[in-house]
Symmetry: C2
Subunit: 68 residues, 2 copies
Amino acid sequence: MDKTLKVEGMTCGHCVSAVEGSVGSLSGVESVKVNLDQGQVNVSYDTAQVSEEAIKEAIDDQGFDVVS
Amino acid sequence: MDKTLKVEGMTCGHCVSAVEGSVGSLSGVESVKVNLDQGQVNVSYDTAQVSEEAIKEAIDDQGFDVVS
């Protein structure tokens, strides 16, 4: 499944690395790409292995707000 | 010696850690504190052990612009 999340608080390359690193390390996540300008995180994942909730939690754990 | 450097490009806690970590690891640096809102880095250091130039270079190496 492909999903675009709206995330607030990402301001720089360190933030991009933090989000891409944490989400990318989840089992079942096939790809993750942050668009810093738009405040978006594009994720492709296997719904049989990982939930949208778990992905949002990983982002939240890095200190960012998942708006939608 | 106490010195306040003006640094551009620091936007978040990751940036603070990057600057404080790199400058703080230099021999002769006694303390380093980033003020994110003001874009300032306050450094106390022993001029016999480390130069202002080396400190600025450490910040620059982390991808930030030392303005003054």
